[in-house]
């Protein structure tokens, strides 16, 4: 047993402690510690990626995870209620592993991006590192309670990072973000307790041991006559409790994803957040929502996932189309990209809803690729904002002649985002579309028309990106304020350093998607197969 995952989680916490001890005027040292810590995390996650055994064919959820660590954490005897058992239980499979790698990479880039920060450096990096640890913790937790702890733990640093280091409307944005996602997690909490009461086993002493273990929940080890077991007859307003639980979880994670109509916190949070935080928000935090759907919502309630595939797919479709339309109407570049995130995360939802192996692997791929692309896009907005303290699209034009390198990256990532083949965005989208259109003939969960309409999304995203390119980068060079002129320098070495790795990854993943899809193939296949078989079984009960 290696402690790789624990290292990944706790290293940043340790680093945060160290920074906490340091006096706050040692800004350089603090930054370096944060950088070293996140770099170590990155190295560890690369080791994770390399040592991950993609050839493993799982037989059940219990052996689907690798690098597992299981330590009893809280054990309470509750008298007649049995035994309260919370474990420190972590592990990764093909769905969480890429997301861990994605997060650690973006975390390093986020530190580089915050390098010029001068005010309240100490507090910033402490919060940043706490966030970093909880993010990874969230992706590897296999105990629902542990997951929930990390899930909530992310909110606080995020709230302060936006609320203190953000833009002019930061307090509105951060409170909106906080309350909205807190509301979502309340839904999750309710289901968590319900599941806890329903899942477990009777041990050899005849004592009922309830558990938060996600593995048990996914395997469907329900107690007899428990609230959420598939055999239960409990219903509220004629809807079974399992459906309610699914809907609650869905709501909780859709807010995080975010999907239309629960998305309005996102543009506000993005616009006010500092660049590095936007990067993490779009690049990683949204994926927590997607990941939660995979790991918890869908894996535990496969029967309802099949039943409600159609509405979920429609939410995805609406997000794709609607998000794209609203993006086009934005005048603030950062808002535009925030809405494009909504649109692209719609593909994640659609692919997952299809429950075909193409759709699901496309969905995972889209999460990773969107992490890189949107991260880079927010960095690019940061570039222009650093120089002008303005993000309005109509305030500049013709940047291509003044900043050719910058324009090169913008064109690259815009086109990656609109799904140009050869770049990673295409692979995710096309797999999702194949999954969605093929769903009708593969498993019949929803009509192929949803997929066909979703193809319109590729037109819509092309429309707003190209229009933005034309307005900001082509034509004669012009800026609203003359004072900006002197600052319009092409990208610096630091910015170069952040963008190049992302650009390389976007190209490599676009040309050789099997680098990512190969190792996760078995996990995805298992995910889909077990979901379908278990779901059908539950439905028939």
């Amino acid at each position: 047993m290696s402690y790789l995952l624990s290292w990944l989680i706790f290293l940043p916490f340790v680093a945060a402690l160290v920074i906490g001890i340091l006096p706050s005027h040692l800004k350089g040292v603090i930054k370096s510690i944060a950088l070293v810590a996140t770099c170590c995390q990155l190295v560890l996650s690369i080791i994770l990626f390399v040592r991950f055994d993609g050839s493993l064919v799982p037989q059940g959820w219990a052996d689907a995870f690798q690098f597992t660590e299981l330590v009893p954490w809280i054990t309470l005897k509750l008298g007649t209620l049995g035994l309260l058992q919370i474990d420190y239980f972590v592990g990764v499979d093909g769905i969480s592993m890429p997301l861990v790698v994605l997060s650690t990479l973006l975390l390093v880039i986020g530190v580089i991006s915050s390098w010029k920060l001068e005010e309240k450096v100490k507090g910033y990096f402490i919060l940043y590192l706490i966030l970093s640890g909880s993010l990874v913790g969230c992706f590897v937790a296999l105990d629902f309670f542990l997951f929930y702890v990390f899930f909530e733990f992310m909110l606080l640093p995020m709230f302060f990072l936006i609320g203190i280091w953000g833009g002019p409307r930061r307090s509105y944005a951060s409170i909106k973000f906080f309350l909205y996602t807190l509301l979502g997690s309340l839904f999750i909490l309710v289901v968590m307790i319900g599941l806890y009461l329903s899942v477990g086993e009777i041990n050899e002493f005849g004592i009922q041991v309830n558990t938060f273990s996600l593995v048990h929940m996914m395997d469907g080890n329900y107690l007899l006559n428990s609230l959420l077991s598939p055999e239960s007859n409990y219903a509220i307003w004629g809807v079974s409790l399992r459906s309610w639980a699914f809907i609650f979880l869905l709501l909780g994670f859709l807010i995080k994803l975010p999907a239309v109509p629960f998305h309005t916190w996102l543009p506000d949070a993005h616009v006010e957040a500092p660049t590095a935080i936007s990067l993490l928000l779009a690049g990683v935090l949204l994926k927590v929502g997607g990941y939660g759907l995979f790991r918890i919502c869908y894996s535990i309630f496969p029967d309802i996932a099949i039943e409600l595939a159609m509405p979920v797919a429609i939410i995805g479709l609406v997000s794709i189309i609607y998000g794209g339309l609203v993006a086009m109407a934005q005048t603030d570049l950062k808002k535009l990209i925030a809405y494009s995130s909504v649109s692209h995360m719609g593909f994640v939802l659609l692919g997952l809803a299809a429950l075909t192996s193409e759709g699901v692997s496309g969905s995972v791929f889209q999460m990773v690729s969107h992490g890189f692309i949107s991260g880079a896009l927010f960095l690019l907005v940061g570039v222009i904002y650093d120089r002008t303290h303005d993000r309005q699209i109509e305030n500049v034009s013709g940047l291509a002649s003044k900043m050719p390198k910058y324009t090169f990256f913008v064109v690259l990532f815009f086109f990656a985002s609109l799904g140009l083949p050869g770049l990673s965005g295409f692979v995710g989208e096309v797999l999702v579309l194949i999954g969605a259109i093929g769903a009708e003939s593969t498993n019949g969960v929803f009509s192929r028309w949803i997929g066909i309409v979703a193809v319109l999304g590729i037109i819509i995203s092309a429309a707003y990106y190209l229009w933005t390119l034309q307005r900001m980068f082509f034509g004669n060079y012009w800026t609203r304020e003359e004072s900006w002129d002197a600052k319009m320098l092409d990208i610096s070495t630091r910015e170069w350093l952040m963008l190049v790795p992302l650009a390389v990854l976007v190209v490599i993943l676009g040309v050789f998607p099997s680098i990512l899809l190969g190792p996760i193939e078995n996990s995805v296949t298992f995910f889909v197969d077990s979901l379908m078989s278990q779901g059908q079984m539950f439905l028939s009960q």
């Binding site: 109407a329 692997s361 083949p421 579309l433 259109i437 093929g438 997929g451 037109i459 060079y477 099997s514």
Partner: protein, 642 residues
């Protein structure tokens, strides 16, 4: 990959040597392409690999693709050469060659792809490089806008293609072009067929997508020659040829109708343009219409033949136009108000640019479809097949089918008119703006050679021995093998006579109107956009752009509506939920303060009062104390009693 490498190297070697490096980069590729042709002579070469789990993609070189690869290489080489001269003084020439290399690579990938998804990949990349090249002079807002519009129109069509491709993969299980077999007609097959068709129509600039091609003329002229005349726009035709086995009769009929319609509409539009390149752009659309129609009527081999001959003469025409533009550009390089592409300012160039003149005329005659030129051979096949198809359809009761072949023949009449008009206006007559002989306008290697080679390629003998036999294409057997027996047998005499007559008549009409002695020509300098309704339809090319603009406007209304919904409804709900919860908490606070807390306070107040009373008691008035004690005692006794 070689052109891309060449282009990249060219980019990094900088402005000075970009052209040479790119050319050198092209040469080994050209050799390889000929080798490929030899290699696949007996059996097609196939290469497959697993791109990602569950998706095996494949390359394949068979006769058709090998021939077209050679064609692309040949035209590209000439365009590379020509560009070296044309863009000699452009400071971004290295960028130009990088983009051009990218295009050539994508185009070759498109031709060699065997899997539909791979084809789609290169299809998009071709569109993307076209976008980059149209917007090559991006500092000009108008050109950047044209690039965007061209890409958008393509993108809309590509969405159709993507639907078709995905349906082919998921529903029909036929992702490989080489393994396509006919399917019994069903809804899905039709849907997939229409999807693929829409994609092809978009790329080949057919109705209703043809508006993007004239826009694409904003790019450098050699680019127009390569991408928007010879190669990329032919990709749609190529795709249709490849997927023809699964196209159902319904889809084929629609294709035939759209092809014929486009041929006619674009030819009419070409009649009244002032811009030298726009005439050629509409002409390209019109000729592509022929090819598309050819596929619809089941003459895929003739269509490919036309694609082949058209690549030569149209590239020749575009490069000729490029030479003309370049000439005026040098003549007026200080005067930025002078429009170097406006035919109203031209005339009498035959003495200034003799080689350009001769090659332009030869290519123009090939376009008109005169015998002894290449265009005649290939067009003849299409026209005949259209006629036969129409006859067959009308035997089945669809007499309307003759409309298709009629439109094709009318187009055959209009074609020589507009190209004759162009030749007469540009090269004959007296100059309508000052001209003078410039030295070094037609340098041997980079300008003359491409033009001469393309002009030679427009004459019949390179393609067939018999100048009158449309089935005589020597590559025909090679490309189609046993699969295609000449669809039509021998060319019936009457269609041939008819089409020759139409071509000659067209040229005569052109001469009548625009001959050197006509007043129309001398007044042409001051010509303005036509006022008559038919003139406007032609000049505005059927108002396709206003229609696009209206659609864009409609779209932006939709977009703003979505934003309004987002801000006014969804976000307002969220905010008001926030506000209401604050209000609720305020109310609760009041309740808390006034009622719950009030109760506590009340009790406190009460006990205080009682306490005060008791303070009174304890203050030492014993009498009072006694009275109180008795009272309390009494109360207690009474309490317990009852």
């Amino acid at each position: 990959m070689l052109p891309l490498l060449g282009g990249l190297v060219a980019y990094f070697t900088g402005v000075k040597h970009a052209a040479k490096v790119s050319l050198v980069g092209m040469l080994p590729g050209a050799v390889v392409s000929v080798l490929l042709l030899l290699l696949c002579r007996d059996t097609p070469v196939t290469l497959r690999w697993e791109w990602m789990p569950g998706f095996t993609l494949g390359w394949r070189v068979d006769h058709i693709s090998a021939v077209l690869v050679c064609l692309v290489y040949f035209i590209s080489l000439l365009v590379y050469l020509f560009s070296a001269h044309y863009l000699k003084s452009d400071p971004a020439i290295h960028r130009y060659y990088a983009k051009l290399g990218f295009f050539t690579t994508s185009m070759l990938g498109l031709l060699l792809a065997d899997h539909l998804l791979l084809l789609f990949v290169f299809w998009e990349l071709v569109g993307f490089s076209s976008y980059l090249l149209i917007g090559f002079w991006f500092a000009d807002q108008v050109k950047a806008k044209s690039a965007r519009e061209a890409f958008m129109v393509n993108r809309v069509a590509d969405a159709g293609l993507l639907i078709g491709v995905i349906l082919m993969i998921t529903e029909l299980g036929q992702p490989f072009l080489s393994e396509m077999t006919g399917q019994p007609a069903s809804f899905i097959v039709n849907l997939a067929g229409f999807g693929l068709m829409i994609g092809a129509l978009g790329k080949s600039a057919q109705f209703p997508f043809f508006g993007w091609l004239p826009k694409a003329m904003a790019g450098p002229t050699p680019v127009s020659a390569l991408i928007h005349a010879a190669t990329m726009v032919a990709a749609g035709v190529y795709l249709l040829v490849r997927v023809a086995p699964i196209l159902t009769p319904v889809v084929l009929s629609v294709i035939a109708v759209i092809g014929a319609l486009t041929a006619l509409m674009a030819a009419v539009a070409a009649l009244s343009q002032f811009d030298i390149k726009k005439v050629l752009a509409y002409s390209t659309i019109s000729q592509l219409g022929y090819m598309v129609m050819g596929i619809g009527v089941g003459a895929a081999d003739s269509s490919l033949f036309h694609l082949w001959t058209h690549a030569f003469f149209k590239a020749g025409l575009f490069l000729g136009a490029g030479a003309v533009i370049h000439y005026y550009h040098r003549l007026h390089h200080d005067d930025h108000s002078f429009d170097t592409q406006d035919m109203r300012q031209m005339g009498g160039l035959r003495k200034m640019l003799p080689i350009t003149f001769i090659s332009f005329v030869i290519c123009g005659l090939a376009l008109s479809g005169l015998p002894f030129f290449s265009g005649f051979l290939s067009k003849e096949g299409i026209l005949t097949n259209a006629w036969i198809w129409a006859a067959g359809q009308s035997n089945n009761g669809y007499w309307m089918a003759y409309a298709v072949s009629d439109m094709a023949f009318i187009t055959a009449l209009i074609t020589p008119i507009y190209i004759g008009r162009q030749i007469l206006l540009v090269f004959f007559g007296s100059p309508r703006s000052a001209v003078k002989k410039l030295i070094g306008m037609e340098p041997m290697f980079t300008l003359k050679m491409p033009l001469i080679l393309l002009a030679v390629g427009s004459v019949w003998f390179l393609h067939a021995l018999n100048p009158l036999d449309a089935n005589g294409w020597w590559l025909s057997g090679f490309m189609f093998g046993e699969f295609s027996e000449p669809a039509s047998g021998n060319i019936p005499m009457y269609t041939m006579v008819l089409s020759i007559a139409l071509a000659v008549a067209g040229l005569a009409i052109a001469y009548m109107f625009f001959g050197p002695k006509s007043t129309r020509v001398t007044d042409f300098k001051n010509a303005s956009a036509p006022h008559t309704w038919y003139g406007s339809i032609s000049y505005q090319s059927w108002y396709i752009e206003p229609i696009y603009d209206q659609m864009a406007k409609g779209y932006s209304v939709l977009v703003n509506l979505a934003k309004w919904v987002d801000v006014k409804i969804i976000d307002r709900c969220v905010n008001s939920a926030g506000v209401w919860s604050v209000v609720l908490s305020k109310v609760l606070a009041i309740i808390d303060r006034e009622i719950i807390d009030g109760l506590v306070n009340f009790i406190a107040w009460l006990s205080k009062g009682i306490g005060n009373m008791f303070t009174g008691i304890q203050s030492g008035k014993v009498q009072n104390q006694l009275v109180w004690m008795i009272t309390i005692l009494l109360i207690l006794i009474l309490w317990f009693q009852f």
